[in-house]
Amino acid sequence: MGKTFTTPKALSKTHTHYCPGCTHGIVHRLVAEAIDDLGIQGKTVGIAPVGCAVLAYNYFDCDFQEAAHGRAPAMATGIKRVRPDLMVFTYQGDGDLASIGMGEIIHAANRGEKFTTIFINNAIYGMTGGQMAPTTMGGQRATTAPAGRNTADTGMPLRMANLLGELVTPGYITRQAVLKPQQVNKAKKAIKQAFQYQMEDRCFSFVEVVSTCPTNWGMTPLDALKWAEETLLPYYELGDYKVPEEIDS
């Protein structure tokens, strides 16, 4: 029997700083596997956000830029417009993309910029220590919502894939999760598909990944997976929110 599992070439051989039970590591690997599968490591430029994944460039072995908080889609636009031959992806969390970077993501998606965004939705700010995010669930506790998020005061959690799916501009907008092995396999397919659409110069592609943050949720990794399954998935429904029209080959 041959080798069935190996470290992707597009990942650096180093340990990450992510907390035990955090799903960033899984998503990093899925992105790196997609880069390997498509043979694009040498022409890929990643863009790191501000948040837990700011150091993502330490874990990927390809060119990388580090953005300011929320601005990754604007940087990706700049790169892709002047070098359309490069493969460009942003890797952003929910504070970065859905709060301070809302303007940049909406407009990049609406212009149909031909890059790929990987959006980690774990319903909380991670790096700054568990503050309320736009994606935090009603009643969910955060350091800036110690009694639980009061949606009457702060609004309902933002559903980014649903929102971007409403844009008229063509795109590939999907929401995936990495809470179970089957979901990981589907997420991998979606991420690879997103890069493929970019390779074909088709459209903007966006993969939201429902993830966990055991540390800031105050849960064990296993409890976090269970809570995400029971609490996040009914609200953040998985599936494709927009797919580009088929092209006859």
């Binding site: 040498g42 022409k43 863009i47 830029q65 700049g78 002047v82 303007g103 407009h107």
Partner: protein
């Protein structure tokens, strides 16, 4: 090459193309929107990239991304827009990427007005964004100089791997003057393979490049800031530019003035000369690096009794003038802002008051 009559904003756009810049991102704002309206037509003819961003905040990062990918790139804006780009400018300086920013200054603070002003001197020279950085800032006094400085800005940005700013004002952007585009100011882009994130294949390398501004290790951050400081020291040695007008006379007063304001001062100096009063003007062409030694020496000439900084602001460059004069002569200030440019007659009255 024959001269052509062009509006300042359009000439700046053409100058960028002639300098070999084919990438422009911008957001509309008065009084410089003509740059975008010109380049949206011209860049496609050159196979270039034009994009109107959704905000100056986003445009700042489009510039950052394009520059980090190794391409020459420019944006133009005006004061409130430059404030919004301040965040990106700080990141670009920290990450050491070449980029050209043009500020066609209007009155402020706040929404201010749309008429010419020099109220952004502090923003351009002392900061604007956060942290320890400087821009190389050039201040043209007319359309021809705006063209030349814009053309030079790209190679200077590459030489120092950092952001360069052209600080004009609404008058320079809006007025028409005959200009030429000197061919010898066109330069080839430098090779950026040792740092740019242009894709490993583009440079036949297995070594990836990283463009970033986060240095969590205090020693690493200090080292990065020392590297920036060394560049600013080199600029102070190699890039100081200024003009001394009527400086070979036994002038009694030294004016310091730049940009549009210096043109009015020049007229006042000529008229005073006819009346038998000699006045000189030290006009910085680079606001950073500031012509420190030249200001000191011009102020300390035996015949010179006083120095006066005349600006379209409430007193900004005058602080640098005072710093350079080191108390050797009294330093006065006169300024107006809000859009009215002081007249030669007004300046003559002010100068006579100093004598």
């Amino acid at each position: 090459m024959a001269k052509v009559l062009m509006k300042g904003n359009e000439a700046i756009g053409e100058a960028a193309i002639r300098a070999g810049c084919k990438n422009y991102f911008a957001y509309p704002i008065t009084p410089q929107s003509e740059v975008a309206e010109y380049l949206v037509k011209r860049l496609p003819e050159e196979g270039g990239v034009f994009l109107q961003g959704e905000s100056e905040v986003a445009v700042g990062y489009m510039i950052f991304g394009a520059s980090a990918a190794g391409e020459r790139v420019m944006t133009t804006s005006s004061s409130p827009g430059i404030s919004l780009m301040g965040e990106a400018i700080s990141y670009i300086a920290a990450a050491q990427c070449p980029a050209v920013f043009v500020n066609i200054v209007r009155g402020g603070p706040g929404l201010g007005g749309i008429l010419p002003s020099q109220g952004d001197y502090f923003q351009a020279v002392k900061g604007g964004g956060h942290g320890d950085y400087h821009l190389l800032v050039m201040a043209p006094d007319g359309v021809q100089e705006a063209v030349e400085m814009t053309m030079q800005a790209f190679s200077l940005a590459e030489k120092y791997r950092g952001p360069v700013m052209i600080m004009g004002d609404g008058l320079i952007g809006q007025m028409m003057e005959p200009v030429e585009f000197p061919d010898d100011l066109k330069t080839e882009p430098t090779n950026k393979d040792d740092w740019a994130t242009n894709g490993m294949n583009s440079r036949n390398s297995k070594q990836r490049n990283l463009v970033k501004s986060l240095f969590l290790d205090p020693t690493a951050l200090n080292d990065n800031n020392l590297a920036l400081k060394a560049k600013y020291a080199q600029m102070k040695k190699e890039e100081v530019r200024f003009e001394l007008y009527n400086g070979d006379t036994d002038y009694q007063v030294l004016i310091t003035s730049y940009g549009t304001m210096s043109r009015v001062c020049r007229t006042a100096i000529d008229q005073l000369k006819e009346a038998g009063i000699e006045v000189a003007m030290l006009r910085p062409k680079t606001l950073f690096p500031f012509p420190e030694k030249a200001v000191f020496e011009a102020a300390c000439k035996d015949s010179c009794k006083a120095v006066i900084s005349i600006e379209m602001s409430m007193g900004q460059m005058v602080e640098d003038v005072e710093r350079c004069v080191k108390g050797r002569r009294p330093v006065a200030f006169y300024g107006e802002c809000g859009g009215d440019i002081p007249s030669p007659e007004k300046i003559i009255d002010i100068i006579k008051g100093l004598l």
